[in-house]
C-alpha cells in the first residue's frame, strides 16, 4: 500500500478524533453519551498505534507532528484532572490532620515562638511605655486608643457584616501570605511569625495599661484564640515547606518539597477555616452588647474545641 493511500484512509479517523476532542473540551463528558466515549477511546488507541508506527513507516514529518499534537490533545481529555471529593477531605481533615498536627514539630516550634514572644513582648509593653513607643509606634498607639475610646457596641448594627468580610479578607490573606513566605527556607515564615508576635504582644500590653482597657478586652477576648491559633498554623505550614528544603530526609530537594507541600495543604485549609470563624465572631459577637462573661465563655469554649480537635482526634488515631 502507498503512504498516500494510508494517509487517505487514516485521515477520516484522525478528523473524527479531533472533532471529539473539540466537543469534550467544550462540553461535559456525560452529555456526550457512552457510545461516543467508547468510540473516542478506540480512536485514541488507533491514533497512538499510528504514532508508534509513524516513524517506522516513514510518514512525512508534518504528519508526525500533527499526530504528536493529536495524541497529546486526546490524552488530556482521556486523563482528566480530579476534582475535590468531599468524603476524602472529611477523612483528611478529621482523622489524618489532627494526628499529623500533634506530631508536627514545626507546629510546636511555631507555637512556642509565637506565644513565647507574644507573652514576653506583652510583659515588656505593660511594664514600660518606652518599649511600646519603640515597638508599636506612637501613631499606632494613638490610633488604638482612639479606636477603643467608645464602647464597641456603639457601632451601627449594619456594619457587622462588612467588618466580618473585611476580617476574612485581611486576616486570612495575611495567613496565606505567611504560609507562602515560609517557602523561602523557613526564614520568611519565622520572620513573619516573630514580627507579628512582637507587634501584637506590644499592642496588647500597651492597651492593658490605658483607660480604654475594658473596651479593648470586650472586643478581642472572644476571637483571640481562633485567630492567633490560625496565625500559628499558617506559619507552621510555611515552615514545614521551608525546612523540607534543608532537612530532606534522604530525598532529592524537590521531592522533599513536594512531599512537605502535600502534607502542609490540609493545615493551611484548617487555618483558613479558623480565620473565617474568628472573623464571624469578630464581626457579629465581639461588638454585640452581650456581657463580658459570655464573650469570655466563647473564648474558653473555642480553646477547648481546638484542644479536643488536636488531642482528642489526634491521639485516637495514633493508638
Amino acid at each position: 500500500m502507498k503512504v498516500s493511500q494510508l494517509l487517505e484512509r487514516r485521515r477520516e479517523q484522525w478528523r473524527n478524533l479531533e472533532g471529539l476532542c473539540q466537543e469534550l473540551e467544550h462540553r461535559r463528558v456525560r452529555r456526550l453519551g457512552g457510545q461516543a466515549v467508547s468510540h473516542f477511546a478506540s480512536l485514541y488507541r488507533a491514533a497512538c498505534a499510528d504514532l508508534a508506527l509513524a516513524d517506522a513507516y516513514q510518514l512525512p514529518p508534518d504528519t508526525v507532528r500533527y499526530l504528536h499534537q493529536l495524541v497529546g490533545r486526546a490524552h488530556n481529555q482521556l486523563y482528566r484532572s480530579q476534582i475535590f471529593r468531599w468524603r476524602d477531605w472529611g477523612h483528611e481533615m478529621f482523622q489524618v490532620l489532627p494526628a499529623r498536627l500533634l506530631c508536627d514539630r514545626a507546629l510546636w516550634l511555631a507555637f512556642a515562638i509565637f506565644w513565647g514572644t507574644f507573652g514576653f513582648s506583652m510583659l515588656l509593653a505593660y511594664a514600660s511605655r518606652t518599649y511600646s513607643e519603640q515597638v508599636v509606634g506612637e501613631a499606632m498607639m494613638a490610633r488604638l486608643q482612639e479606636m477603643y475610646s467608645k464602647p464597641v457596641t456603639d457601632r451601627p448594627g449594619d456594619a457587622s457584616g462588612m467588618m466580618a468580610g473585611f476580617y476574612v479578607m485581611h486576616n486570612a490573606g495575611i495567613g496565606l501570605r505567611c504560609f507562602a513566605a515560609g517557602l523561602l527556607l523557613g526564614i520568611g515564615g519565622l520572620f513573619a511569625t516573630l514580627s507579628n508576635a512582637v507587634v501584637l504582644g506590644g499592642c496588647f500590653g500597651f492597651m492593658l495599661t490605658v483607660g480604654e482597657r475594658d473596651n479593648f478586652l470586650q472586643f478581642v477576648t472572644a476571637r483571640g484564640p481562633f485567630e492567633l491559633t490560625a496565625i500559628v498554623l499558617s506559619a507552621a505550614a510555611g515552615m514545614r515547606l521551608g525546612f523540607s528544603l534543608i532537612a530532606t530526609d534522604g530525598l532529592a530537594r524537590t521531592a522533599s518539597l513536594r512531599r512537605a507541600a502535600s502534607q502542609a495543604t490540609p493545615t493551611i485549609g484548617a487555618a483558613v477555616v479558623l480565620f473565617c470563624l474568628a472573623a464571624l465572631i469578630e464581626g457579629f459577637l465581639s461588638p454585640s452588647s452581650l456581657p463580658y462573661e459570655v464573650k469570655a465563655a466563647v473564648a474558653v469554649v473555642s480553646v477547648a474545641l481546638m484542644a479536643l480537635y488536636i488531642f482528642g482526634l489526634g491521639l485516637r488515631r495514633r493508638v
Binding site: 500500500m1 502507498k2 498516500s4 494517509l7 487517505e8 485521515r11 479517523q13 484522525w14 457510545q35 461516543a36 467508547s38 478506540s42 480512536l43 488507541r45 488507533a46 499510528d50 504514532l51 516513524d55 513507516y57 516513514q58 512525512p60 514529518p61 504528536h68 499534537q69 495524541v71 497529546g72 490533545r73 490524552h75 488530556n76 481529555q77 486523563y79 482528566r80 484532572s81 480530579q82 476534582i83 457587622s160 457584616g161 462588612m162 467588618m163 466580618a164 468580610g165 473585611f166 476574612v168 479578607m169 486570612a172 490573606g173 496565606l176 507562602a180 513566605a181 517557602l183 523561602l184 520568611g188 524537590t254 518539597l257 513536594r258 512537605a260 507541600a261 502535600s262 495543604t265 493551611i268
Partner: protein, 280 residues
C-alpha cells in the same frame, strides 16, 4: 513518565500508559506572562463588577454593611482561589491559559489534581517577591519566580516545584496531506531509480521537508538547494551527472510516499480494519 527536556527546543517527551511517547513544548516565562496578564485583567473586571452589583443589590434590601461583607469575602476568594478553581474544573487551564493554549500538567504528563491546582496558586505569592512600591501601591515584580524558572530545566516556578507541575503549550496544526506532484515527468523519471534502492529515515524526512517547501522557491533556487543532496545521490544511483537535481528529489519522494510499495504496510492496514469494526 517524562524525560528531561532537550534544552534546545524545550520539548518534553511523555510516555503514556499506552506506552506511546509523544512530545509537548514547555511554556517559558514569556509565554506564561501574557496568559497571567489576561487573568489579572479578567479578575480586575470581575472584582469591580462584584463590588458594584453586590453593594447595589444589598443596599436595595437595606443591608449595605452585609453587601460590603459579601463583596470583601468574594474579593478574598477571587484573589487567592481564582487560579486553583479554574485549573481544577477546566483541567489545568485558567481563562488566560485557555485563550493562549497553555495547560498545567504534572511533571509526569498527567492532569493535575485539585490540591496541586490550589497550592500552586497560593504559592504564587512567594514567586511574586520582591514587591516594589509604586505610588503607595505594592507591585509584585516576580523576580524570584523568574530566577527559579531560569535555574531549572522545566521552567518551573517555586509553586510548580512544590506541586510537581509544569506548564505546556498545546499547539494545534492542521493535517496536511502529501505534497501533490502532478507531472507525469516525475513518475517517468522515477523508473530510472533502481528498484532495490531504499530511502532511509533521515533521507525520507529531508525529502518531504524539501518537497513541501519547494513551491516557495524559484527554479534556480531549487536547483541550488537540491544539488547538495542530489550530487552524491547521482553517484550512488549511477545516474548521469547532468540530471536535474530538483527532478531527482521529487522522483525519490514520489517513489517513497506515493508510488506502490508492495507488502510493506500490511500490518498497519490490519490495524485500521480492526478499529473500523469498533466504530458505532
Amino acid at each position: 513518565m517524562s524525560k528531561p527536556p532537550r534544552q534546545l527546543d524545550s520539548r518534553i517527551e511523555i510516555v503514556t500508559p499506552e506506552n506511546i511517547a509523544f512530545h509537548y513544548v514547555l511554556a517559558g516565562p514569556f509565554r506564561r506572562l501574557p496568559a497571567f496578564l489576561i487573568d489579572v485583567a479578567i479578575r480586575a473586571v470581575v472584582l469591580f463588577a462584584i463590588g458594584l452589583v453586590g453593594t447595589w443589590l444589598f443596599s436595595l434590601a437595606g443591608a449595605t454593611g452585609l453587601g460590603w461583607g459579601v463583596t470583601l469575602v468574594s474579593w478574598f476568594a477571587l484573589a487567592w482561589f481564582y487560579g486553583g478553581f479554574f485549573e481544577t474544573y477546566w483541567n489545568g487551564q485558567t481563562p488566560g491559559k485557555r485563550i493562549l493554549g497553555l495547560r498545567v500538567l504534572t511533571v509526569d504528563g498527567q492532569p493535575i489534581n485539585a490540591l496541586q491546582a490550589v497550592l500552586r496558586n497560593i504559592l504564587r505569592d512567594a514567586d511574586s517577591m520582591p514587591m516594589a512600591a509604586v505610588g503607595g501601591i505594592g507591585v509584585p515584580l516576580y523576580m524570584l519566580g523568574l530566577a527559579v524558572m531560569a535555574a531549572n530545566d522545566r521552567y518551573q516556578r517555586l509553586g510548580d516545584l512544590a506541586c510537581g507541575t509544569i506548564v505546556v503549550v498545546e499547539q494545534r496544526s492542521k493535517l496536511r496531506g502529501l505534497a501533490s506532484l502532478g507531472q507525469t515527468e516525475i513518475a517517468r523519471f522515477a523508473e530510472n531509480v533502481p528498484l532495490n534502492f531504499k530511502v532511509n529515515r533521515a533521507l525520507g524526512q529531508a525529502l518531504s521537508v524539501y518537497v513541501a517547501r519547494r513551491e516557495l522557491f524559484s527554479a534556480e533556487r531549487r536547483f541550488e538547494i537540491a544539488r547538495t543532496l542530489a550530487e552524491p545521490l547521482c553517484v550512488l544511483l549511477d545516474l548521469p551527472g547532468d540530471t536535474n537535481p530538483d527532478l531527482l528529489l521529487c522522483a525519490l519522494y514520489y517513489r517513497t510516499f506515493i508510488a506502490d510499495r508492495p507488502g510493506e504496510f500490511e500490518s498497519l492496514a490490519d490495524n485500521s480494519r480492526r478499529i473500523e469494526v469498533g466504530t458505532p
